[in-house]
Amino acid sequence: MQQDKLVIGGVELDSRLFIGTGKYSDDALIPAVCEASASQVITVAMRRVDRGGTGVMGHIPSSMRLLPNTSGARNAEEAVRLARLARAAGCGDWIKIEVISDTRHLLPDGYETAKATEILAKEGFTVLPYINPDLYVARACVNAGAAAVMPLGAPIGTNRGLRTREMIGILIEEIELPIVVDAGIGRPSQACEAMEMGAAACLVNTGIASSDDPVTMAMAFRRAVEAGRAAYLAGAGAVSHGEAVASSPLTGFLR
């Protein structure tokens, strides 16, 4: 197989699995999860970062590319503040925009997300907005200067897989930027399915962090993402959508 790099904001990545830092029983697990996942990108909630320099940041290997996120922001203004704070704190220029003003369902606010994307892209950030898989919101983010878009597979934390499969398929088809499926992927098979569809990458946190053995699960996700990507590149064979048909009951008379 030829070299298959994922390019986001001019940065080449070998791994198509992004991981997170929340929900672990012990942040000291994070280095081993990074290694087992072979991931190169890790997201961290700025609201959880201790500005004293201790806490989760101390466990992230220096080889990882940080993707700070704006979890906790309820509007574009708060997301922009958090992004600037991340940059000032030395977390780099990548930012995952997460604007949620509904604590009941934790669904992202597309309008505020696109607004924040525009402001931060103009400030030189590499912006990855987390969105509902809505074509118009995705286009708005593209026009606002996003470097990739991150549609949810299912509501965050549900581990339900690709409930939004059809919509994500439309984004893969229509949006020129990398599509990174974020949220809802609870099992490696679901990540594999997203990659087979043509997603550029998957971000997995809950599925790894809340498992009984996060390090082994990280390895399983790595293999699943790699398998799904290879299958996509190889081109899946035709799949029957109906029952197996052994003969030709309707056209058998054509002799």
């Binding site: 012990d26 942040d27 609201r47 806490g55 906790g72 309820r74 708060e78 009941r104 609870g186």
Partner: protein
């Protein structure tokens, strides 16, 4: 009605929880609980989105044989949404002068004990001792004496200590909309307000005098705080005052209503229960351990994303066992007296605590359970 701001009590066009509560009178609640069947309980455990009726099934006697199944379901939901992380916080009592006459409370104005009101600098010294111990989320508590522990005083303490804390919450008397806004401007991001009981008649008997006597004013306080823009609103009933099923149901219903009407607000629950003998007050409806677990697991199934706090009223044994079931926030390094860390305390506190673990001990014990104690879970974006 004698309220500081009458218009704020019934703002035109605003929904109020008392209207929702009125749709669930005691007779209806009792009938539903009595009619709940095994089928209702198992069906509720299979659902992703539960109705108030499903919630009642899980609280009902019909659910009692299914406690283990409820605990498993609750644990699974909690792991998905909160992971293996538990937020730790510490309460800080800064004034115990109180004009209320709550029959069950150690701060009751009729209790002629020595009282203490910390100056802003004394409060800061106590708070900073907690910050030094690793606490990032702090909850400021006062008695109900607005002529001494005024909203301006609370705001001043909050502003003074905010630079050392990621989150400053308050558990004080009911404030007006403008007063909550004042606190918000001074670094307070969340509030906790215990309704004590949702039984209005009982409530008015328990609180015979003082500002707290007004049931509706208190009932609508969490919504008022949410309207003022606070990020977090915590509620809870003091379990043991009324029959378990009624206050348990109404607490869940209140949180459910707040989530629906204030989707941007982080609604959380506390589940304090009284000891069978709380001082000289006779607790008529003490909640036993099985009911307590039933309550927590039913809340988790009904309100999957709500934070659930268990205070040091519960023993270390109980807290260690219920954290994995559904609890997301615990206190540590607790004293219910005013002072005691840096400045001298005048009395032993509002109530006796059962779990005396320090912050490092709590961190250690959570780790032994396979959970990470998270000091900083959230911070306002206005830094």
């Amino acid at each position: 009605m004698n309220h500081p701001v009458l218009a704020d009590h019934f703002a035109p066009g605003e929904a109020h929880f008392d209207e929702c509560l009125a749709e669930w009178p005691r007779e209806r609640r009792a009938a539903l609980a009595a009619a709940a069947t095994t089928h209702d309980v198992l069906a509720a455990l299979e659902k992703d989105v539960l109705s108030p009726k499903d919630f009642m099934a899980l609280l009902s006697p019909a659910a009692e044989p299914f406690l283990e199944q409820m605990a498993r379901r609750s644990r699974e939901i909690t792991l998905r949404f909160f992971g293996r992380a538990v937020n730790i916080f510490s309460p800080l009592y800064i004034s115990d002068i109180c004009t209320n006459h709550c029959r069950y409370c150690g701060f009751n104005a009729d209790n002629h004990q020595k009282r203490r009101h910390l100056t802003v600098e004394e409060a800061a010294a106590e708070a900073f001792a907690l910050a030094d111990a690793g606490i990032a989320h702090i909850l400021l508590l006062t008695g109900d004496a607005r002529h001494i522990a005024s909203p301006e005083y609370i705001a001043e303490v909050a502003a003074r200590i905010k630079p050392r804390f990621a989150s400053v919450g308050v558990e004080v008397y009911s404030l007006t909309l403008e007063e909550y806004r004042l606190l918000l401007q001074n670094g307070v991001d969340s509030m906790t307000m215990f309704q004590e009981t949702y039984n209005r008649e009982l409530y008015e008997w328990l609180h015979p005098a003082g500002p707290k006597h007004d049931f509706l004013w208190r009932l609508n306080t969490p919504a008022r705080a949410a309207r003022a823009g606070l990020h977090g609103v915590g509620i809870g009933a003091l379990m043991g005052l009324d029959e378990f099923i009624h206050d348990a149901f109404c607490t869940g219903l209140h949180a459910w209503w707040l989530q629906k009407h204030f989707p941007g607000v982080d609604v959380s629950l506390s589940v304090p229960r009284m000891c069978p003998h709380e001082g000289s007050f006779e607790v008529k409806h003490a909640v036993n351990d099985r009911q307590f677990v039933q309550y927590i697991t039913a809340l988790r199934c009904f309100l999957p994303r709500c934070g659930i706090t268990v205070s040091s009223r519960e023993s270390a044994y109980m807290r260690n066992h219920i954290v994995p079931i559904g609890v997301t926030r615990v206190s540590a390094g607790v004293s219910t007296a005013v002072g005691g860390r840096v400045v001298e305390a005048e009395n032993s506190g509002q109530f006796d605590i059962s779990d005396h673990r320090s912050v490092p001990e709590m961190v250690r014990d959570l780790a032994a359970l396979g959970y990470q104690a998270v000091a900083k879970d959230w911070e306002a974006c206005d830094f």
